[in-house]
């Protein structure tokens, strides 16, 4: 990270369509399960990958906290509580350390925005709850996590669409690396809805209605027709290395490299040269060679242009020497949650020594060829892995984690 301090991960928590713990998520991924179902009429029956919006489960959060939370913030808070518990840090320690957080999402809460529009447009704005702002705000996931965990440090909420989660991880790591924080809870969250899936559909980037929705998301496949929107959250406890060692914390891995850039001209199109530069810069920031990477967790969302651009960039930087897969065939594209959520799965892959393949990838698109696609599980130890996240607006972010610290 080229900073003063080393940054390690000492806790993780998730809330997803395929599990509420990283272990459960791994088991479902390894079993080849898909979270994708057919949406209702409100979302034009498009394929979608919803996480359980379960009021009973959310009752684990006190009402005084929950009243300001839409599903995206509930997902975050549930994941955050699990990450805190996993870290072994106490409330007193968090306060003494001025622990902070960085959590982002695409647009706060689309379901709350929709409820608000409906009231305002129908002339009933006096019926808006005072909680509406807190549920819908772009930083709702971050400040609601801080309230839930009782964090009294800095609250950040990078709002960079589908790179929000990985940029939040990168920001938290940078703050710790620079000596400005000791503990940061970082991650991403999102909820899907017709505003999101419909926008992708208008751009011909969403998978169409299929007889079998579980086949809809096909990253890197010659038959892919677009992405499937999903939702969920993942939160990690990032901690300064010496502090973690001193308290005997369980260390999942070390964030050794991070970089984020843009092509300077992007709107919806991915830019292969900019992605390649981002990945190269990430390796440089880690001080390691691309040949040292054991696995790449691709962003690949199953869009025609995006997957091809990422494959081209991987081909340029890594050649065909590093196994690559995307978990969006299983989970759909969980948007702002995708980077951290998929990272949580990779830590479990490392624990099991098994790489999960890209679901629904049988015939690799020639435009995505020339890299080592995982089309079946592969046993391989992971010592260092690479994670990509990209977003509308030309945003690229990559991270390298080293295990067995």
């Amino acid at each position: 990270m080229n900073g003063l301090k080393r940054v390690v991960i000492t806790g993780s928590g998730i809330y997803s369509a395929l599990g509420f713990t990283p272990g459960e998520l791994f088991d479902n991924l390894a079993a080849g399960k898909s979270a994708v179902v057919r949406a209702g009429e409100e979302e034009n029956f498009l394929p979608t990958a919803p996480a359980p919006r379960d009021p009973e489960r959310f009752r684990a959060l006190p009402r005084t906290l929950r009243r300001a939370m839409a599903p995206s913030a509930c997902f975050t808070a549930m994941a955050g509580l699990a990450a805190l518990q996993d870290s072994g840090l106490t409330q007193d320690e968090l306060l003494a350390l001025s622990a902070g957080c960085a959590v982002g999402s695409t647009m706060g809460s689309v379901s709350t925005l929709r409820e608000g529009y409906a009231l305002v447009i129908s002339g009933q704005s006096d019926r808006l709850s005072p909680m509406h702002f807190f549920k819908a705000a772009s930083h709702t996931t971050a400040f609601n996590l801080a309230r839930t965990l009782g964090l009294n440090g800095a609250i950040y909420s990078p709002c960079s669409a589908c790179a929000s989660g990985l940029q939040s991880m990168g920001l938290g790591a940078a703050l710790i690396s620079a000596g400005q924080a000791t503990v940061m809870f970082c991650g991403g969250a999102d909820e899907t809805g017709s505003e999101v899936s419909g926008s992708f559909a208008l751009m011909y980037a969403h998978a169409p209605v299929e007889d079998d929705p579980t086949q809809s998301s096909q990253p890197f496949s010659a038959h892919r027709k677009g992405l499937v929107c999903g939702e969920g959250a993942a939160v990690f406890c990032l901690e300064e290395y010496e502090h973690a060692v001193k308290r005997g914390a369980n260390i999942y891995g070390e964030i050794v490299g991070y970089s984020s850039n843009s092509g300077g001209n992007g709107l919806s199109q991915s830019d292969a040269p900019a992605i390649a530069r981002c990945m190269t810069d990430t390796c440089k920031s880690a001080g390691i060679s691309p040949a040292d990477i054991d696995y790449i967790s691709a962003h690949a969302t199953s869009t025609l242009q995006g997957d091809a651009a990422e494959a081209a960039a991987i081909r340029e930087v890594f050649g065909a020497n590093v196994p690559v897969s995307s978990l969006k065939g299983h989970l759909g594209h969980t948007l702002g949650a995708s980077g951290p959520l998929e990272m949580a799965a990779v830590f479990e892959m490392a624990r099991h020594g098994v790489l999960i393949p890209t679901r629904n990838l049988v015939d690799v698109d020639p435009a995505c060829a020339g890299i080592d696609h995982l089309t079946a599980p592969r046993e391989k130890p992971i010592r260092i892995f690479f994670k990509n996240s990209f977003a509308f607006g030309g945003i690229n972010a990559s991270m390298i984690c080293k295990l067995n610290v």
Binding site: R63, T64, R67, D126, R127, L128, S129, P130, M131
Partner: protein, 106 residues
């Protein structure tokens, strides 16, 4: 809105149980909203918005409702003012209908 005191108590307590997740056993008239029931000013606004919707009235510009301290104060407020609140709501509705008619007639 033409309710007996018992119906008012049922509606107000129902909102507190369903929306604020309070225990029905805690809901007695002498309880204060902030100290006894643990609510805050944002909860009170939410509660009033819910009751506005339930009763078909508007409390937005009512100064008296802003002074309530206990659950009994709220029961008393609605019992005493329901006729006036209903008249206000009907007048507002009629004015809105007239404005819409004039707009259509332009």
């Amino acid at each position: 809105m033409n309710l007996t005191r018992d119906e008012i108590i049922e509606a107000v307590n129902g909102a507190l149980v369903n929306e604020m997740e309070l225990d029905p056993a805690d809901l007695s008239p002498e309880k204060t909203f902030f100290d006894d029931l643990g609510l805050d000013s944002l909860d009170m606004v939410d509660l009033m918005i819910g009751l506005q919707r339930k009763f078909g009235i508007s409390l937005r510009d009512n100064e008296e409702i802003k002074q309530v301290r206990t659950l009994g104060d709220v029961y008393d407020f609605f019992e005493k003012n329901q006729a006036m609140l209903t008249a206000q709501a009907e007048a507002a509705k009629a004015a809105a209908a007239q404005a819409a008619q004039q707009e259509t007639g332009k």
